[in-house]
Amino acid sequence: MAKRAVPEVNAGSMADIAFLLLIFFLMTTTMDTDTGLARLLPPPVPLDQEPPPPLNERNVFVVLLNSKNQLLVEGEQLQISQLKDKVKEFIDNPLELANFSDKKESDDLPYFGIVPISKGVISLQNDRGTQYQAYLTVQNELQAAYSELRDDKARQKFRKAFKDLKPDEQDAIKEIYPQRISEAEPKNVGVQ
């Protein structure tokens, strides 16, 4: 009987497979990315600069947050859950009410042409004793108000969600609803 050689499996490609796996995992592993609320701080004001002219009062939406985390919006005490709708109402002002923000004509925007843009600015002031989470919740609601307005506009014009739009379409909508949140120079609000 002829002796049969045991057939050897060629294991040379195993190394390649292992390398492939190694590289795949190297590429796909994302270290848990940090998430957060992005904000842009205003540049420092030179000492000798004159203060800017005051804005028309109807265009300023004052949000105060005291050391007990209570919210005072335009002189009225509100719950945090009501803030978003108030802001939307103030910015959008569909009925052109006199106590909400004024509009101005925009430049000639792509996709939209000349449209009225709100001149509204949100002024957020907080106390030194305000809890960080409360402050962030307010910031979050303000941001949510803007993103909902933008999203509504996107659906109305392009029938798509804002995040699915092309970058230039997004930019056009951002021009219509610019995010203007101003934070006052620090001062104490509501200290006993």
């Binding site: 294991a11 040379g12 195993m14 190394a15 497979i17 292992a18 390398f19 796996l21 190694l22 995992f25 270290m31 990315t33 940090d34 998430t35 957060g36 609320l37 992005a38 904000r39 842009l40 701080l41 205003p42 540049p43 420092p44 050391s67 907080n126 106390d127 030194r128 004793g129 305000t130 809890q131 960080y132 989470q133 402050y135 962030l136 919740t137 910031q139 979050n140 941001q143 949510a144 993103s147 620090p186």
Partner: protein, 158 residues
């Protein structure tokens, strides 16, 4: 004569490569185990605040971190129980932030400097006074892009 017998029929002797995958796997495991993400050891208590409208911080190399919170118990005797700022691995005061930012910015590539983002990682319960001081210091240091580090709010407690 035939004293030296020719070995098998010519051709190259193939090296047994069966152990190569093992070596590669060993390498893989070695790197998997030994890689520690460059992360500072927190000396403060950091319980992340929550929000919904969050954005991802894309490039890690462009981000500078400022940690704020109450010192851990073993540091409380020296640093007290008031919220403190931690930069890299050490406690710092508000005045140190400016030089820290400048130093971090220097270590970046020239082209990346305008895109530098400062992430404020603060405990959810710390008072805004510290945060406001940090923000003022960052403004002075011209580090205007900031991000308040937050977790995604879980749907449960919505």
């Amino acid at each position: 004569m035939g004293k030296f017998k020719k070995k098998e029929k010519g051709g190259q002797q193939s090296i047994n490569t069966a152990s190569l995958p093992d070596i590669v796997f060993m390498l893989l495991f070695f790197f998997m185990v030994s890689t520690t993400m460059k992360e500072v050891t927190l000396k403060i208590q950091l319980r992340s605040p929550e929000a919904t409208e969050i954005e991802k911080l894309e490039k890690k190399s462009l981000v500078t971190y400022v940690y704020v919170g109450i010192p851990n118990r073993q540091f409380q005797s020296t640093f007290g129980t008031e919220p403190r700022i931690q930069l890299n691995d050490a406690f710092a005061s508000v005045d140190d932030i400016q030089s820290y930012i400048v130093q971090e910015r220097e270590s970046m590539k020239e082209a990346d400097r305008p895109k530098m983002t400062t992430s404020i990682k603060a405990d959810y319960d710390c008072p805004m006074g510290v945060i406001t001081d940090i923000k003022q210091a960052l403004r002075k240091a011209q580090a205007l892009k900031i991000s308040y580090s937050t977790r995604k709010k879980s749907e449960m407690n919505n």
